[in-house]
Subunit: 283 residues, 2 copies
């Protein structure tokens, strides 16, 4: 006979955490407000301080509260989100076709995404590595073929990451213009799309693949991420007119400060083929 699973009351930490979460959702605890102290919680739910602490840890892992030594835990106030729109793809492409003077001025603004120029430090590092099985499959080259890896990151005054990305291009594709292999030429006026144009490549399609995961301890430290905040991962694949993959770029964004926006234009319905019938449903 199947052993019916023992009905077990939910752990105290869960009860506490859920009670507090509901208080937050109902607005009884507003963003910025302080939670009860551990001792008060232990008293209110008649449990040990350790269990109360476990409940606080749970809420932290869900990104709902912040806490630190000597400070009562606080309901986290959601930071304003920076919007990164796919319309930038077209803007950058248009820019790449403009004369050098114009590229230079706008090119600089591109790197400062919605932010004061203030105290940012940029870094770009180029090197050449073997494609490896993963990239080789995308580029349709041999795993031992060389690719140019370009790593970009910008940090603020406290050395916390503001943005970080890696880009890959097959060496065979770009070697006809040696300037593309030298990181001393960064920042390149007009960006990657203009770089590729110098070797006769025009990007016709961009594919963005988006997912998310929790950061490791070191990643959380580099980004200055509070507990319970995921990283958004975005791989951007650039195709030319022949559907050939010409660039792959991986970027990471802190989920609490980032919203990715993708705009998809749809083709109009044919003039005569307009949908008909006002009644739908089961027929």
């Amino acid at each position: 006979m199947e052993p019916r699973p023992t009905v077990v009351p939910p752990p105290i930490q869960l009860r506490i955490a859920d009670d507090i979460r509901m208080q937050i959702e109902r607005g009884e605890l507003k963003p910025g407000a302080s939670l009860p102290t551990l001792a008060e919680m232990a008293d209110r739910w008649s449990c040990s301080v350790g269990s109360a602490r476990a409940a606080v840890a749970l809420l932290k892992a869900q990104g709902l509260i912040s806490s630190g030594r000597g400070r009562a835990p606080v309901v986290r106030v959601p930071p304003r989100k920076v919007i990164r729109s796919s319309e930038r793809h077209q803007v950058e492409k248009d820019l790449a076709a403009r004369p050098q003077a114009e590229r230079a001025t706008v090119g600089e603004a591109e790197t400062n995404h919605n932010m004061q120029i203030s105290e940012q430090k940029f870094r770009s590092r180029y090197d050449q590595i073997e494609a490896g099985p993963n990239l080789a499959a995308l580029f349709r080259i041999e795993p031992t073929d060389p690719v140019l890896r370009r790593r970009y990151d910008s940090t603020d005054s406290a050395d916390l990451l503001l943005s970080s990305s890696v880009s890959y291009m097959p060496i065979a594709l770009i070697s006809s213009n040696p300037a593309l292999l030298d990181e001393a030429n960064e920042p390149w006026p007009g960006g990657t799309q203009h770089q590729l144009s110098t070797v006769g490549v025009e990007i016709m399609t961009m594919i963005d693949e988006v997912t998310a995961r929790m950061p490791t301890t070191v990643e959380a430290q580099l980004w200055g991420l509070p507990d319970g905040v995921p990283l958004i991962l975005c791989r951007r694949i650039s195709l030319d007119a022949n559907e050939r993959v010409v660039e792959v770029s991986d970027a990471e964004y802190p989920a609490d400060r980032t919203e990715l926006r993708f705009v998809t234009p749809l083709k109009p319905w044919p003039k005569r083929g307009k949908p008909s019938g006002r009644q739908g449903g089961r027929s």
Copy 2:
């Protein structure tokens, strides 16, 4: 004078968790492999069992391992990701213009996203609510104006969520076809785009806004999510030819099983305006 922060050795739990994480990244611990028992860890790092347990909890919160009563913690094996592509937007629009017979057959397949029809249960609930400030601003209507809310979710045989979404449309936009207000007409052959076509609306642009956050305890339970797996949030806004917002839909996806794909076609460069200059860099 600024009090230089005391240099404090990193907590034992962090050292343990980081050591194990690096073993996983180096491949010394492969997906599916068992971690040492808590007692062994306590011995190896000469700490208490409690600290070893804290390290395991950290790795769980990062989504790297799974653990349960009586079982040694195990390196998590990443599940295959279901790809949800924005190209579906165009496919559904094309479908909406097809004759009823065709819509009916394909409409069913649409709901089964890449999965056997097997044991899924679908549910759709319609109701009418006040727009509220948030939706009112999007639709450019009054906060007290009514909107149709449609909630869809599908669950597997164990009642775990497979997909979940909510959609909003202003009542004023669709009330000329009462069939649209009745959930008994679900599933509607041809989907939302055909529904809107019956009231003279053609969607010309879709905007997807993507971010991520950690699930609450109850959400993790509903989805059957392991610890340390974020939820991907996607708000889809549909515009007609006049840039009027006609539908808003919010969907959630488990990040470990989901990859969102967005395809952006770029307009070709003008024939004569091709970018020039083989040399870039600082000018």
